[in-house]
Symmetry: C2
Subunit: 235 residues, 2 copies
DNA sequence: GTCTATAGCCGGATAGAC
DNA sequence: GTCTATCCGGCTATAGAC
């Protein structure tokens, strides 16, 4: 994808097939945004793109695979924009909030059809799930972003929590996203409120996790994350 | 459904249409369990049930609507069985664990096609979502169950938390269910482990919520639940 | 007016020729 | 890599049976 962007040189980095593929994708995303997912047939996409249906299926295994570009694009842009937004924000609460709100900004225009994408979240065998192997690259990119959110903050993070926290913050984001998908409020304002309110709570929890009384519980939670969230390799 | 069960009287509580409907549902659920959802066509269901496709669609608006019976049946059985399992269990941790494990027992046989059902969870406009208006009866039944889990326990519950806790415990169950849907371990043993490990953590959290230092955070969390989880009436 | 059946549309997906 | 032709299955229009 990045190869396709702004390559003004005389060389041809994209083969004919790659250009066709990209063209079909662009047309499809545009049509989805305009007429919705169900309202856009593969026949219509193919016709609009000037290719045959069979050709479209040669490049994309299924209609839903056309959606995959969305998550990919969203995480790339999220990773690209967030760092500048984080600048000058020092508390963990501010930084978490900024990352979440930036995500909502990016995803906003796709709200209607994002539902389609996150339907798949519940189905692990679906390659389009954000938890799937196929999505791992996008997921890792987003988790890395939260590592940056943590490292740049003034809040001291308990050592033993350090390596599971990025995953947990990513999970926090997924919860916000899940709510956002449901969100019918004007401009999805409720989701933004959710982000604004939960960000300081998450930061506070991180700080409180140092408390002596909470240590056993925190330890259990940490082990839980390790055993159930990160261990994703099948035996 | 309850009307259908064990009515040995001479009267006819079920009209011909109702019986046909129930028959189609039974056949469909059986076939789904056997050959999977995608592997079972509406034509095959109709044929096996001895009715026409058109007739099947007269009774069920769509193939997915056939799944609705699953959640309904599962919550009814959950509510029926759990009380006896709770007897003799006094600590909150034990009671939460029992309720969760009972759910897993009930849902077990349907594991393969439950994925289909919970796909819809991410789509609020889908009447099959567990969060939808259409599912509210089943949802309320399950939440009521957790009210019982709480009330029968020896753990003293902070007053202000009392009325949001059943919802939170239900949400806890939904998280377990979400994991269970993903679970590829033998007999979904990992999900049972998740239930066993998180139940005492949930109970511990309830107890800890009385701590002075945690009060502000608990209060915020409580407000959050009220504003974002329970307020479900559209303006 | 409730129930059931036939016949066929529509759109996602595929096989196989070029 | 691209096309044409076709399959397959969810769903519906509509007519007729009870």
């Amino acid at each position: 994808m990045s190869r396709a962007a702004s390559n003004g040189g005389p060389d041809r980095p994209l083969s004919k097939g790659e250009r066709t593929r990209q063209h079909i994708l662009d047309i499809a995303l545009g049509m989805f945004a305009e007429r919705g997912y169900d309202g856009t047939t593969m026949r219509a996409i193919a016709a609009e793109a000037g290719v045959s249906v069979g050709n479209a299926y040669h490049h994309f295994r299924s209609k839903e695979h056309l959606i995959q570009g969305f998550y990919e694009q969203a995480t790339v842009r999220h990773a690209a924009i967030t760092p500048s937004v984080l600048e000058g924000r020092e508390t963990l609460a501010e930084r978490i909030e900024a990352a979440l709100l930036t995500w909502l900004d990016i995803a906003g225009p796709y709200h209607d059809f994002a539902v389609r994408f996150f339907r798949n979240a519940a189905d692990p065998s679906n390659p389009l799930s954000p938890f799937s192997e196929e999505s791992s690259q996008s997921r890792e990119r987003d988790i890395a972003l939260y590592r940056e959110v943590l490292e740049g903050s003034k809040t001291r993070v308990p050592e033993d929590l350090a390596d599971v926290l990025p995953e947990l913050l990513w999970l926090h984001q997924m919860v916000v996203v899940l709510y956002w998908v449901h969100d019918t409020s004007e401009g999805q304002e409720k989701s933004r409120e959710l982000a604004r309110r939960t960000a300081p709570m998450a930061a506070r929890l991180v700080a409180l996790s140092r408390l002596r009384i909470l240590r056993p519980l925190v330890k259990q939670g940490e082990d839980l994350v390790r055993d159930f969230l990160i261990t994703r390799r099948p035996a």
